[in-house]
């Protein structure tokens, strides 16, 4: 239906977020990126590339699957279980500033699960949240530190983020 971000806008948003990350953290020394599967992972990779271009430093990047921490897993007696993918965090998160990356911030429940999962890996100095789209309708007291674009939506609508790495093209579309 309505494309609210095209490829150009997605890439400019990510570059702006990379600038904001550098400004807010005064450098990249103790930063690490963790993308939430599925679409947070390529987004984290792109931010890492932008930080490399801007500051000349490789920021460690990992992938987090939050399925095992979801709060809605066991609510129905019978039904398909979500497919679990591998979590890969090949560095210690202790005493680092973790930039948690996801595509859409909605109820906040995914982020709640991701925070629980991350804390089981160690004790980061801080966790900051990066999202490409904030569509509102929070059900938990969670907010993003870096937002690509705020998009007001109704709860009946759905927001589709498509990325070249997984979907063949970059765009954000609001459906319904």
């Amino acid at each position: 239906m309505a494309v609210v971000m095209d490829a150009d806008r997605v890439s400019r948003s990510l570059m702006r977020i990379a600038h904001e990350i550098l400004e807010r953290n005064r450098g990249v020394d103790d930063l690490a990126l963790v993308g939430i599967r599925a679409r947070g992972v390529p987004l984290a990779g792109r931010i890492a590339a932008a930080l490399k271009a801007l500051a000349g430093v490789d920021v460690p990047t990992g992938a987090l699957d939050i399925t095992l921490y979801r709060d809605d897993l066991m609510r129905h007696a019978v039904g398909p279980q979500p497919v679990i993918r591998r979590t890969e965090i090949p560095f210690s998160i202790d005493d680092r500033v973790i930039l948690l990356v996801d595509d859409v911030l909605y109820t906040g429940r995914t982020i709640r699960a991701a925070l629980d999962a991350l804390i089981d890996f160690g004790r980061p100095k801080a966790i900051q949240l990066v999202v490409l789209v904030d569509r509102g309708h929070r059900e938990l007291p969670i907010r993003a530190d870096y937002v690509g674009r705020n998009i007001p939506t109704s709860q009946q609508q759905s927001v589709q983020v498509r990325l070249v790495e997984l979907d063949g093209r970059d765009e954000v579309e609001v459906e319904g």
Partner: protein, 314 residues
Amino acid sequence: MTTATTLRSRHLLGIRDLEAGEIDLILETALAMKEVGARPIKKVPTLRGRTVVNLFFEPSTRTRMSFELAEKRLSADTLGMTTTGSSVVKGETLSDTARTIEAMAPDMIVMRHASSGAPHQLARVCRASIINAGDGTHEHPTQALLDAFTIRERKGRLAGLRVAIIGDLIHSRVLRSNVWLLTKMGAQVVACAPATLMPAGLRELGVEVTHEIDTAVEGADVIMMLRVQHERMHGLYLPSAREYFTYFGLTPARMRLAAPEAIVMHPGPMNRGVEIDSDVADGPWSVILDQVANGVAVRMAVLYLLAGGEGGEG
């Protein structure tokens, strides 16, 4: 073959009932579960508030410990029952034991029993999901799944591999589950045992049958040694353990016939010097301890997939 997105049954009674895509789903899920075991905190909250009963009517060390560890890593509440010191020795029937446990409303029951078909009987009367942890000489599905996981980890695939299964085959539920699994996944299976320990009907399942260990080992990518089960032999099956080792024991000399980079597996417990030489069991071919480690990941995958639940929007 495409990976299934869900299991069709809420029980895991045998590999025979599974489709290739379902087997693939369990193995893929186990890959993610294995990573949990490598974390500093080896526990996830997935099955919090779920109760799992481990019913072991037959002695078991590694399977019971492996299931317990899998349940604990998924945060389930677990209780165990072994036959010694339980109502079973006082003469309670299986269905009465089942009804008693059912009244405590567990979500899952993991069951090991000396009689083939016992978990199927339990599945008919219980609301809980039943996982077969070995029934008589019938099936041991999670063992075959962890074997397949270990093979895939080492060989990258199952299809097209030549797998030799050697030992006391007639008493082996591990053989039956592995034959179902490996043939469904496109591997070529050769079974080798003395005539007294060879079950009938294997050729009909697409298995090559031989009584010569050298024929079985020749060109094999995977060699699965099965234990001589003295406790199930009520009669004259073998002249002596020493003679068995001479004709059917896996030795380093015989390993030279196998394919390059061949691996040796054993579901345990091993009889060293009966079916397997210590130099093979502890040698470079051996993945026996990998099997034990992978067992936990595979059982976590099965528990997770059978636990039900439905995904929603994050």
